[in-house]
Symmetry: C2
Subunit: 492 residues, 2 copies
């Protein structure tokens, strides 16, 4: 609270359709601004924002208060934290180094590999107590085993690529219209063999809308999907809260859906959502015949089929079939532009023209018709031109790499062999030790392995997600395998 104002709490009777109840109302004597009625706060997303804010003086005349329950930034989203903090001297030095110099240093380190140093206790403690700035460390690395290396995300590098793709006469898109965005929509519709496609800012929005449309058409609110579906796990149940849909969870969390799971459904269902490849299961794919059998089950029951194809781009090599042939099994298809293709955001929903026209209205309702989206569109076109044609190559590399990694002790590749250029690595190590070791390697060798080692049902095992892409191919397979060997050794 700013100086000179006091905060008072009084109880007020809140009128409500469901009767009335006493609720506390906070008031500042200075601003006379009602600021809340004491509901619980929610986990705050976005790296440490709350923490940092609390250290800063509150702005003048806010009349507000902080929810005591607000948690610091969620672990899944904390890469952006603290970029403004002063960097440690060695790191600042490393950041000044250019690609080739880092590469030289890296090659030298391979010839004379440094073994994990035994650090004095005090130093080790100091290091583990200080939160290392992983984002700055990632920025200092010029090599990354992850296919979508940080470099492809950096604003400066994206801007340079976008500038190559516009002329002085390229007009901005505007409220969803304009040649720029329509060109991308036509191109992706054609790639997927659908009549029409529509840009959305997020898959969360696109998929809720697709399911809502199918539910409205079936006059039925039940939609069915796997227990690890993005809608169930990562969207705070928007489908239920905003659209009143009921999610019927199918199968079991740790395996793919089967035809048996579908045949066990004993109630009417408006739509079935399948995810290809299934991200949380290591990019696994059902065999083609199984997939066809599942979609035929839906056809027989007049259940609409929606494809969560966030990473559909990765599937053709395994099936030996085109994107359109896979998409033809489904009524509507969502594909992401920022996963794999590397755009800063955005996605497309493709399907029959009348469904897409209806989705256009829902996009407005959701607040998804952004004034202009050309930065996403231009970057996505680059992805379609430069990344998509390399998928077969990435897939081959994923298989080679998996073979090498699977030979390491205490490391499982899932699935083995990979079905897409996307792997999950399960490492029998402590998660915090893995992260520290990975950051050490980033600092010393200039190669980014990742930092998110997720918990698994086995407390002794942690999981790293590894998409294979252009950055991965800059490093020889043997080198990546050696780095993971070192990671395991350092975190033992």
């Amino acid at each position: 609270m700013s100086s000179g104002s006091t905060l008072s709490i009084r109880w007020t009777r809140a009128a409500s359709t469901a009767g009335s109840s006493l609720v506390p109302v906070w008031r500042s004597d200075r601003c006379r601004t009602r600021v809340g009625t004491g509901e619980a706060g929610y986990t705050s997303y976005g790296g440490g924002r709350v923490d940092r804010d609390l250290r800063r003086p509150l702005p003048r005349c806010t009349g507000g208060r902080r929810s005591a329950q607000a948690a610091p930034g969620g672990a899944a989203d904390d890469r952006g934290a603290g970029c403004a903090r002063p960097l440690a001297a060695p790191l600042r030095l490393a950041q000044g180094l250019r690609h080739r110099r880092l590469r030289r240093r890296h090659l030298r380190s391979r010839l004379h590999p440094r073994r994990p140093r035994v650090r004095p206790l005090a130093q080790g403690l100091a290091r583990s107590l200080a939160v290392r700035d992983a984002d700055a460390l990632a920025a200092s690395c010029r090599l990354s085993v992850s296919g979508l290396g940080r470099q492809t995300r950096d604003p400066s590098s994206v801007l340079a690529h976008l500038a190559e793709r516009v002329s002085e006469r390229t007009p901005s898109d505007r409220y969803g219209g304009g040649e720029l965005v329509e060109r991308l929509e036509r191109r992706v519709a054609e790639l997927l063999g659908k009549n029409a496609a529509l840009f959305f800012p997020t898959g969360t929005m696109a998929q809720q809308i697709a399911l809502r449309i199918w539910a409205d058409r079936a006059r039925l609110s039940t939609v069915a999907f796997h227990a690890r579906c993005h809608l169930e796990r990562h969207e705070h149940k928007g489908y239920e809260e905003l659209h009143g849909l009921r999610g019927l969870l199918l199968g079991a969390p740790d395996r793919l859906l089967t035809l048996d799971d579908l045949e066990a459904i004993a109630e009417p269902v408006a739509a079935l959502l399948l995810e290809l490849p299934q991200r949380e299961l290591g990019g696994r794919l059902p065999e083609w015949d199984e997939l066809v059998a599942q979609t035929e089950w839906a056809r027989r029951r007049d259940v609409a089929l929606h494809l969560d194809g966030a990473r559909l781009w990765l599937c053709p090599p395994y099936y030996g079939r085109g994107l359109d042939e896979i998409a033809a099994l489904f009524d509507t298809v969502y594909v992401s532009l920022y996963k794999d293709l590397g755009a800063p955001g955005g996605c497309l929903l493709a399907g029959p023209a009348d469904v897409i026209d209806e989705a256009r209205v829902w996009r407005i309702r959701h607040g998804g018709r952004v004034f202009s989206v050309w930065p996403y569109v231009l970057a996505a076109e680059r992805g379609l031109d430069e990344v998509l044609p390399r998928m077969v190559e990435y897939f081959g590399r994923a298989r080679e790499l998996a073979a090498g990694l699977a030979a390491l002790d205490d490391l499982d590749v899932v699935p083995d062999p990979p079905q897409t250029p996307f792997l999950h690595l399960y490492l029998r190590r402590n998660g915090e030790k893995l992260r520290e070791a990975a950051l050490d390697i980033a600092e010393e060798r200039g190669v980014w392995l990742g930092e998110r080692f997720a918990v698994t049902p086995l407390p002794a095992v942690h999981m790293l997600e590894l998409p294979i892409g252009a950055s991965t191919l800059e490093l020889p397979v043997a080198e990546i395998v050696a780095l993971f060997g070192e990671l395991l050794e350092r975190s033992a």
Copy 2:
């Protein structure tokens, strides 16, 4: 339908929670893809997309059909249409000209003004039959009386400005977190004197969420706003369809709200939304005392106050009060980043930290947590640095310009005098003639006046919206007045 496939329609009994009914199902014998059940299509947004698509061969294996009811692109969004068409030779020439040369030509034309030529009938007919490419014409103009000239929107020019604002080390934001976006959120929260602020892709999303939160806290679904509120007019009733809110419409469409309107409310209300300035009324503002009286009415009734401040940036000069002082009257405030500030999109919702934390969850539900939004953020920072400090200057120019324009016959400035750097011009002319004349002027003089002459309750009168900004100030007031004189003469 692609060759080799046929389309059959059969009737199927659709299971439904509300009984069952016969619905037609279209099937392609080739794809076996259900593509729709014959609901009416919706107006398609986005300039002529449907028209153009219909001329193109359908992609392979779609199994789809076009909704017969799909209308061609909405009139409000057709600027982007047909940019790929070959330009007429004179226009192509004009596009090659640089700013100074156009200016010279323009000044020359003022010395020897060309009167409207009497065109041979055939030529005039041909011209009116051909749809002129307004977007390409706008692109060829290097001067614009509209404050947010097309030039500020062009991807090439925006990219150049953004590149100045990033270093090689600037990291991308990620899922709503990261220093880049948090820096903007802190800055705008401080400008508005609020505890916290959160980025949203659109105001549609931000405002629905703000009202939903206030409604939940009041345990009451009624929210009140003016009949011309954006939520009521331009969002396909998302607030009702997604959040189950009831909109209580206040006052009358063609005047500002008054305290009397509020005192006439005879039912409990969770939140009151006020719009400052009110865009559809020419950027009108209530007098300060009236505004304070309205907010005090809400305080007395424990009604939460939300400010639709899409163009709040324009208000301080009239009130002689800071943004924070105006915002302090409200609990939550939405401000746009693309209106006036000139970013390609995006907005912020500011308010108490616990409300913003709750809004963060709703942003995920709505599908508004875009993977990264740094292009909007960087452009908005530029707007705050370079546009916001000039508002007093723009306001002064708006008043000078209004005085000049009001002297023209058959033209009304609304409001007169202007209360913000934003005007509505009511011209007693046929809308199509105005548009043709404005495009003629664009073609011949290289100055863009606009092309959207909206209908008004008087069929003989059409309205042009005129935001005053940097582009406006590049032209002397007398010159702009002369151009509107010419517009009136040419369209008489």
